[in-house]
Amino acid sequence: MEVEKIKGLKFAKKQDVAIVGAGMTTWKRRLNETGKELSYIAVKQALEEAGLTIDDIEMVVMGSAPDTFDGLHMKGEYLLDGSGGSDRPYMRVFVGGGTGVFAPIAGYWHVASGLADVCLVVCEEKMSSCHPHPQSGFKGIWDPILERPLTPNLIWIFALEMRRYMHVHNIKHEDIALVSVKNKRNALDHPCAQVAEKITVEDVLNSEPMALPVRRLDVSPPSDGAAALIMVAPHIARQLTDEPVWVDGVGWALDTTMWTNRDLYFPRYVAEAAKMAYKMAHITDPKKQIDVAEPYDPFDYKELHHMEGLGLARKGEAPILTKEGVTARDGDLPTCPSGGLLGVGNPIAATMGVKACELYWQLAYRAGKRQVAKEVTTGVCQAWGDLMQVGTVMVMSNKR
């Protein structure tokens, strides 16, 4: 029997969801703190910003990417003390690198379903404990029969993807390097930044080759850090603040495992996820309706790639927009005003701090020196992960 979809029922939530507080730790190599302590620092900040205590929290969502980094099985259970998950419903969600935006999506459904009125979302990652390098944690992400014998690493497949993207749209490395220059400079204003610096396109092109065309300055660093976000129901939001930021739409999609069978020049998974989120947020023309964007930028070409997936630029158009300064902090479409992963750092799941948290700060006009020049009402953040496979998208707005 065929399922007939009921009209209008889709996206009929129990209650709206608002964000009232966020926090994050400084991102760097943090040998002195355990993951629990990192989570605690971020949670404490978020609670202070929201004006809540841990006793007000009803449920906790944890986001943390591969267990192999920390060398911990059931990492969620290990982290639950530090993140305030003890003595309450606590659930860990996981979509690889996409967890940075997926965890707040999970926070969204905890509140939107009416099961929780106050939900704390915590993301933590501690990569430095992985020896000799966090890359070795990625040895276990490949298909054991088809791929592991080739001893691949992540930089290689990104080199393949970057080359394909450059080839299809006839893009020069110089144009892509502009993203790295922009984001590292934006990060100079971020107090938590790990690799903020003033660099030029030449610096990127002359940096150490990793797997050509990918060079050292095209890549974000491994980091340790945590971030936290507090999502509440409307009646709680009204008590806490006059200007909450609302979650308008969420979307996520997972593409096939067989990444070798896909054309890598365009991230279909991001486009699908964006389609779902935009539909929910009633966004028909993202280019016009989105004021600020935080696409996932672990590599400089990835920011461009994801802007195209999010419909913020036509296919192949993102490098042109970057060159014209449209994506600068004072441009028409400020993109990664936080400094992104390239500038602030890349603690896989904890990148929520520069994606969902940053978007909240921008829309709440709490971003301080990083606040974009233009007036903002609607923004989008996005993360990506697994084997170039998952897209997670969240649309927020400071107007209802």
Partner: protein, 381 residues
């Protein structure tokens, strides 16, 4: 908004499946569930949820390997690091928050691929405080909890043995339970004392298998089936996973049950629940969990167990499927097997082990050592 189970499918459960890839196990369970629900996953399903832990699976990011065999490519698909019942709770939230009209939950176990089970569990312990303590197998931590529990509640060896006898014999009627057997009290008491006070036969052996559920909102459920099983309540709860500070009295089950019962409108569980499937991966845990679920009073449960109150033809049948002692430890699919049995009983499709009165059933699962986390689901017709 009510949420219904419109399709169930499973594969297994087997002690060992060297001939099958875990993807094949998942595929088989998924196809059965889609057939049962009468849906096409590529067209009809809005959200797919897999319950998995990376290191059980032997991958760094297991989420990557989920979509193809479930028909979930380019669809909203995600992993929940928890038991199947956590996935069920997630699907419940997806449907009630309007994100999905039809959601699919999957969990599986390929425990036979794990060569060093005890070492994997050790990786879940705090690396500084706990992991280095001696060379003990982590089952010792369950034995410590058992020692405390049986002393506190004055439970005898024979009473614990009666749990094993009940479940192993129940499993003889379940064609998908690999560890059933005609076991008597004497057999249990003759089993070697491997982790004092725990005997070998009181520990559930591992098994392979997969469970897939299709859930839908009320409108779609009514189109798909005339007699849906309703997911009336879900609950989940965590306590610290540190042995030095956790309470050792299954608070996770009690609090999760409180949440689920409230949602389901159950005020007196002992009267309103007809039967339950509880986590019995260590025999004493069954007694502990029955108490935590409020199905009998503390200090009385073990006596009632011996008297046959929880037998298949008793007042309140527990683990009619054979429980984990009969079916096996299914890792994250444990709650899946429990929920599956409850749904089959409620539908009247449980074959030889069908109960005469089955209107409200409870499934409960724990996240296994070293955690104090767990989830509960209440189903009804």
């Amino acid at each position: 908004m009510r949420v219904a189970v419109v399709g169930v499918g499973y594969s297994g459960f087997n002690a060992n499946t060297p001939d099958l890839h875990w993807k094949e196990i998942m595929f088989e369970a998924a196809v059965r569930a889609y057939e049962d629900a009468g849906i096409n996953p590529r067209r009809d399903v809005d959200s797919f949820i897999t319950c998995a832990e990376d290191i059980w699976e032997g991958f760094a990011i297991f989420d990557e390997f989920v979509p193809d065999q479930l028909g979930a490519v380019l669809k909203p698909t995600c992993t929940i690091c928890g038991d199947f019942l956590y996935g069920l709770a997630t699907a419940y939230m997806h449907i009630t928050s309007g994100l999905a009209e039809v959601a699919v939950v999957e969990a599986h176990s390929k425990a036979s691929d794990i060569l060093t089970f005890g070492e994997v569990i050790k990786f879940a312990m705090d690396p500084i405080w706990l992991r280095q303590i001696g060379n003990a197998h982590p089952y010792y931590f369950a034995a410590l909890e058992m020692a405390q529990y049986i002393n506190e509640c004055c439970i005898t060896e024979e009473q614990i043995a009666s749990v094993v006898v009940k479940n192993k014999n129940n499993a003889r009627l379940n064609p998908s339970a690999p560890y059933g057997g005609k076991v008597g009290i004497e057999d249990v008491l003759n089993s070697p004392m491997v982790f004092d006070p725990m005997r070998k036969i009181e520990i559930a052996p591992r098994a392979d298998g997969a469970v897939v559920f299709v859930l839908a909102n009320e409108e779609i459920a009514k189109k798909l089936t005339d007699s849906p099983v309703w997911l009336k309540g879900v609950g989940w709860w965590s306590e610290t996973s540190n042995f030095d500070t956790m309470s050792f009295n299954a608070m996770y089950a009690a609090k999760a049950a409180k949440m689920a019962y409230k949602m389901a409108g159950i005020t007196n569980a002992a009267k309103e629940v007809d039967f339950a499937e509880v986590d019995d991966r260590f025999a004493f845990k069954e007694i502990q969990h029955i108490e935590a679920l409020g199905l009998s009073k503390r200090f009385e449960t073990a006596t009632l167990m011996v008297e046959g109150y929880f037998d298949r033809n008793g007042e309140l049948p527990i683990n009619v499927s054979g429980g984990n002692l009969g079916v096996g430890n299914l890792l994250e699919a444990t709650g899946g097997q429990k929920a599956l049995e409850v749904v089959l009983q409620l539908r009247g499709e449980a074959g030889k082990r069908q109960l005469s009165k089955a209107e409200v059933g409870v499934a409960q699962a724990w996240r296994y050592i070293p955690t104090a986390s767990g989830a509960v689901a209440v189903f009804g017709v």
